[in-house]
């Protein structure tokens, strides 16, 4: 349940439907399922096996594979920590919007309200523009909430997800049903599902499918390793991986109906084409959706509140799961009590988040997210496959997984982890570098350097430093 909560996040709502629509509509489901079964699920089985085998946090897991690989565990724990720093800010926006939805405070111009009144967005990343008080207050609440959930350890995580995951799913189904009963909804859904099979010949569509699967399943972030370390000895690894991956895909698929039905309604009401409306990222969540909600014929406030509660709940499970690997790593290496380790990480996370609640926050969020998602996560996934596939006997993990699983995996899994997945990840990485060089960015090069390249390099260096620092047991042993 916790793994499902972690995998299902804001990306399922604001990324999948948009990519599907842009990449051939319903035809995109074909490359998506291929990517899911050839990369997503095999990688998830690998991460579950790693965690279940080591019964440790990611850094110690990689250390058990080989002492020199501990840095890879720290690296894969630090990247989600950086992601959380801005992810929590988006959750803070959702939290603020739960309150704003009570009186539909965004009024007739949701875009102006979001960008100017709420965020006070400056003209560029270097014009900081001061801290936004409403966003800051919501941010403090978010970090306190994450601390409260994490500091007691895995037992409290279990209690939280048993409520939040089903609640978010039920609310989301309600929202999808409401959306589908609006006029114009069928037109919107038609945009989402009508297949354009010619797009399957475009290599970028296949790359988009692999990238979406990779990001959506919370892979290469140490999360699944960390959660699997808490699984019982007899837990079924393969079946759990299939359930987590398919539940995540099911929510993404459903999100398409919730999003496109409402977008279709808005397009009909305003007499504009769907293409002219923001259907991805913050513009979908904080501009298009609130605009549509204001026009709902019945109970707009209720559906507004429900929509942001749903997003907030989806985000919360993902946010605390991203903090868990680094907290568990610090707790395990230096034997710092869990409460103290959680407090330290949450304070560090809060301080890192501060830049994202300034007037320039949205600019920095876009820059950091672009680099961490396109380069950081893909690189870690690649390193993970190379270490386990080539520096360790991959077949040992297959045998280990088979020993505790109902569904047996064959030698094909070894081939996928050793050759296919790394090849796909190298290709995604190459394309990302190519796009970075050839596509002009709206931001100056130094901003990309400061907000994108620098954090990636810094966390890589910190990972090595953390590996070199002596842990408590190592100190005792001399």
């Amino acid at each position: 349940m916790a793994a499902i909560g972690s995998a299902v996040g804001l990306g399922n709502v604001w990324r999948f439907p948009y990519i599907c629509y842009k990449s051939g509509g319903g035809a995109f489901l074909i490359p998506y399922f291929v990517a899911l079964f050839t990369a997503g699920i095999p990688l998830m089985i690998l991460e579950f096996s790693l965690g279940h085998w080591s019964k440790s946090a990611p850094p110690e897991t990689f250390k058990k594979i080989g002492k020199k690989w501990e840095w890879a565990g720290w690296w894969s724990s630090l990247v989600p920590f950086i992601i959380t720093a801005y992810y929590v800010v988006v959750m803070a926006w959702c939290f603020a919007y739960i309150i704003y939805a009570i009186d539909l405070r965004w009024g007739a111009d949701a875009e102006h309200f979001f960008l100017t009144t709420f965020l006070g967005v400056t003209e560029g990343p270097m014009t900081i523009g001061g801290i936004r008080i409403a966003a800051l207050l919501a941010l403090i609440i978010m970090w306190v909430l994450i601390f409260i959930i994490l500091y007691k350890g895995v037992s409290r995580i279990g209690k939280v997800v048993i409520i939040t995951v089903p609640l978010a799913c039920i609310l989301f189904i309600l929202l999808a049903i409401r959306g589908l009963t609006l006029p114009g909804a069928v037109d919107g859904v038609s945009y989402y599902l009508t297949p354009d099979f010619s797009r399957l010949l475009d290599v970028n569509v296949w790359l988009a499918a692999y990238a979406q699967v990779f990001f959506s399943l919370s892979l290469a972030q140490g999360i699944m390793i960390s959660y699997a370390s808490y699984l019982k000895k007899k837990s079924d690894i393969s079946n759990n991986a299939f359930i987590t991956a398919l539940a995540d895909t099911g929510i993404s698929f459903l999100a398409g109906f919730a999003v496109f039905s409402v977008v279709g309604y808005l397009a009909l009401t305003q007499g504009v084409g769907i293409e002219s409306l923001g259907i991805s990222g913050p513009s979908l969540t904080f501009v298009t959706y609130p605009t549509a909600i204001s026009l709902f014929p019945v109970a707009p406030m209720l559906f507004g509140v429900l929509f942001y509660i749903t997003l907030f709940t989806f985000g919360l499970d993902s946010a605390f799961s991203m903090i868990e690997p680094i907290t568990a790593g610090v707790h395990s290496k230096w034997k710092i009590p869990k409460e103290k380790a959680t407090a330290l990480i949450c304070i560090a996370g809060f301080l890192t988040s501060l830049i994202f609640v300034t007037g320039s926050g949205l600019h920095w969020l876009e820059i950091v997210d672009h680099f961490i998602s396109d380069f950081g996560l893909v690189l870690i996934g690649l390193v993970e496959c190379l270490i386990v596939g080539w520096a360790f006997q991959i077949s040992k993990f297959r045998i280990y997984a088979n020993n505790v699983s109902d569904i047996r995996i064959g030698r094909w899994w070894d081939i996928l982890i050793k050759f296919i997945v790394p090849a796909v990840l190298i290709f995604i990485l190459t394309m990302a570098v190519y796009n970075l060089i050839t596509t002009p960015s709206e931001y100056p090069w130094w901003a990309l350097l400061m907000g994108g390249v620098a954090p990636c390099i810094i966390i890589f260096i910190i990972a090595f430093v953390l590996m070199k620092l002596k842990g408590k047991t190592e100190v005792k042993n001399g």
């Binding site: 319903g26 009508t194 698929f253």
Partner: protein
């Protein structure tokens, strides 16, 4: 647009729903069965 869902869109809906929700139901059933066996 405006003519409702095309046949190809309906087919893709059935395809997606079968794999996502059918697959999920199948693996949940297997998990349930295996849990009872253990």
């Amino acid at each position: 647009m405006g003519d409702g869902l095309s046949l190809s869109a309906i087919i893709m809906f059935i395809f997606g729903a079968t794999i996502c929700y059918g697959g999920l139901a199948y693996f949940l059933y297997r998990a349930y069965k295996s849990k009872r066996r253990r």
